[in-house]
């Protein structure tokens, strides 16, 4: 059994793009990545803040951390952080749920 190569079932993916098709696909992919980056920066600034908090304390990292906190505060003020926060709270309550008879998480 030879190692199966992904996408081998599809002529569309396996076909070598012409230079022009390749350029159009690259522009499309770059566009998708740009949109994802912008939307994540707007709606998931908490992730950036969490990452910044893990950086070792240096003068440069202090600036990064402060910027991440400021940006998170801005998204919170604008209400952009709310959907993620609501979903996170729902997930936390699902995590805290226990079967009948089992002690709550903090007593285990």
């Amino acid at each position: 059994m030879a190692a199966e190569v992904l996408f081998d079932h599809s002529a569309a993916t396996q076909a070598v793009a012409t230079p022009a098709q390749g350029e159009r696909s690259l522009a499309w992919t770059t566009g998708v990545i740009f949109v994802i980056t912008v939307l994540l920066a707007l709606f998931s600034a908490a992730s950036m803040k969490s990452w910044a908090e893990t950086l070792p304390p240096t003068p440069v990292n202090a600036v990064i951390r402060q910027s991440a906190e400021d940006w998170f505060a801005t998204t919170e003020r604008l209400g952009l952080a709310a959907p993620r926060a609501r979903l996170h709270a729902l997930w936390q309550s699902a995590r805290a749920a226990r079967f009948q008879g089992a002690p709550p998480a903090d007593q285990r």
């Binding site: 992904l6 993916t13 992919t29 998708v32 950036m48 079967f99 285990r108």
Partner: protein
């Protein structure tokens, strides 16, 4: 630097921009990806980048020498020396202290106690993967399946960040031809790559991480403290966790490579829907199982030598496959179990009366899954005694479930349900979503990622296979 982290996101955005900016110059583009790969690997320990370069140099030089020599003893000697150099690196870093410990224990037993010169060697991340890749390259060149590649291509083959630390074990025959022509994207490839990254992120950051911290780690750390239901849930939970963890890495690796215009081999194909253990090994860690088949099982004799020879070759292959994971008796038992069951399946196929019906598929799936779960208990346990304590606990009536939660059960069920989805769902979805405008596609993927970010725990554990 772990894939599902913000730091890696920044790293990849930068690489994507720089690599595609150099798309008119294939050689420079490969150099850029190579340097980024070294930065990625150096984030763990810079010293190991030197090891990676040395390993690439050895394989490049050996392959060129092999190709330059006529078939004969000298050519074979160079091949053996090259393979031994790869194995030497692997054995030194991975098994040296274990070997000395065993020698020390044996000497003590013989009444000749000695302090062994243990080196407490730090294990370079992914060493098992890149040494196996190097060996397959050398053997393929010696078999005439592959022409010796240029130094840059061999170094990039072994250092490419996407597969470097946890596979797939991408062979030269898969990747070297792609390095030799300018990389180009097509929309379906890019859309499928992006979906694979998001899907891998979900499996790792949500399912695997939650099961690990909420159920599997606490139960396996001391099985004697837990009742039967916790143990059963943890056994199934680990089966789902290791699948979601390892296949997530492979999915993300394949997706990241696709965004740079390269195609990697598939590494997982819904393994828990396998109807036999042989079928399981066609679906689980495909790049390792096919490696073991082509470079170990077949050279040992493969299916030649009668039933005894086949069973012997299966046992040797699986035991060595087990020890590839590490020098621990638990991995040895795991390999013995898989080798033994593969041999039994083979014997049964030979002796089963032709008129007897085959097992219904569903029963085959259930039996195979539980054999695999039994193997995972040894694989996950720190020691043989801990695995036995775990198994003993399964048969005892103990306290009610204390650790397993409704969420963990839902994740186990969900993780197993993935196995029942139509094959190649992601690729089909990629072909469909690839027709969307960039704004819509970006919106869909960003929404998925915000959901994942909301569900993932703070921080993230390394991938399980990083340790191998």
């Amino acid at each position: 630097m772990l894939f599902p982290t913000f730091a890696f996101g920044v790293f990849f955005l930068l690489l994507f921009a720089v690599a595609w900016a150099a798309r008119g110059h294939n050689e420079w583009r490969k150099i850029i990806i190579l340097v980024f790969s070294w930065v990625f690997y150096g984030a763990w320990d810079w010293r190991f980048v030197a090891l990676l370069i040395a390993s690439a140099l050895i394989n490049w030089g050996s392959a060129r020498t092999i190709a330059a020599l006529p078939p004969g003893r000298r050519r074979r000697a160079v091949l053996v020396a090259g393979v031994c150099a790869n194995l030497g690196i692997l054995i030194f870093f991975k098994y040296w202290d274990f070997f000395l410990e065993q020698v020390g224990a044996t000497l003590t037993l013989l009444g000749w106690q000695r302090d062994m010169p243990l080196m407490t060697i730090i294990l370079p991340v992914g060493i098992s993967f890149f040494t196996f890749q190097g060996m397959s390259y050398l053997i393929d060149v010696s078999r005439g399946k592959l022409k010796p590649a240029r130094l840059l291509d061999v170094t990039l083959l072994m250092s490419f960040f996407a597969h470097l630390v946890a596979g797939p074990i991408v062979r030269g025959s898969d990747l070297l031809p792609q390095f030799q022509r300018p990389a180009r994207l097509n929309r379906t490839l890019a859309a499928t790559g992006l979906l694979l990254i998001v899907w891998g992120l979900f499996k790792k950051a949500v399912i695997a991480s939650e099961l690990a911290t909420g159920l599997v780690d606490p139960v396996f750390s001391d099985p004697t403290l837990h009742g039967r239901w916790d143990l059963i849930a943890a056994a199934y939970g680990y089966a789902v966790q290791i699948y979601c963890d390892f296949s997530a890495y492979s999915d993300m690796a394949i997706g990241l490579a696709a965004l740079l215009g390269y195609r990697f081999p598939q590494n997982f194909n819904q393994p828990y829907r396998a109807t036999s253990l042989q079928d399981f090994w066609r679906r689980w860690h495909i790049s390792l199982s096919s490696w073991l088949r082509d470079y170990l099982y077949i050279p040992l004799g493969g299916n030649r030598g009668g039933l005894f020879g086949i069973c012997r070759n299966l046992m040797i292959t699986m035991v060595l496959g087990g020890l590839w994971h590490g020098a621990n008796v638990t991995f040895l038992i795991w390999g013995l179990l898989h080798g033994g069951v593969l041999a039994i399946e083979r014997i049964w196929r030979e002796i089963k009366p032709k008129l007897w019906p085959s097992l219904p598929k569903l029963i085959g799936v259930v039996i195979t899954f539980h054999i695999v779960c039994l193997g995972w208990i040894f694989f996950r346990s720190q020691t043989f005694d801990a695995a036995i304590a775990f198994l003993a606990g399964l048969g005892q009536v103990g306290p009610t479930a204390l650790t397993v939660t409704p969420l963990a059960v839902a994740l186990i069920v969900g993780g197993l349900a993935i196995q029942g989805s139509p094959e190649r769902t992601i690729e089909t979805l990629g072909a469909t979503l690839g027709r969307l405008p960039a704004l819509a596609m970006g919106g869909v993927l960003a929404t998925m990622m915000v959901v994942i970010e909301a569900l993932r725990p703070e921080g993230i554990a390394p991938f399980i296979y990083y340790q191998f």
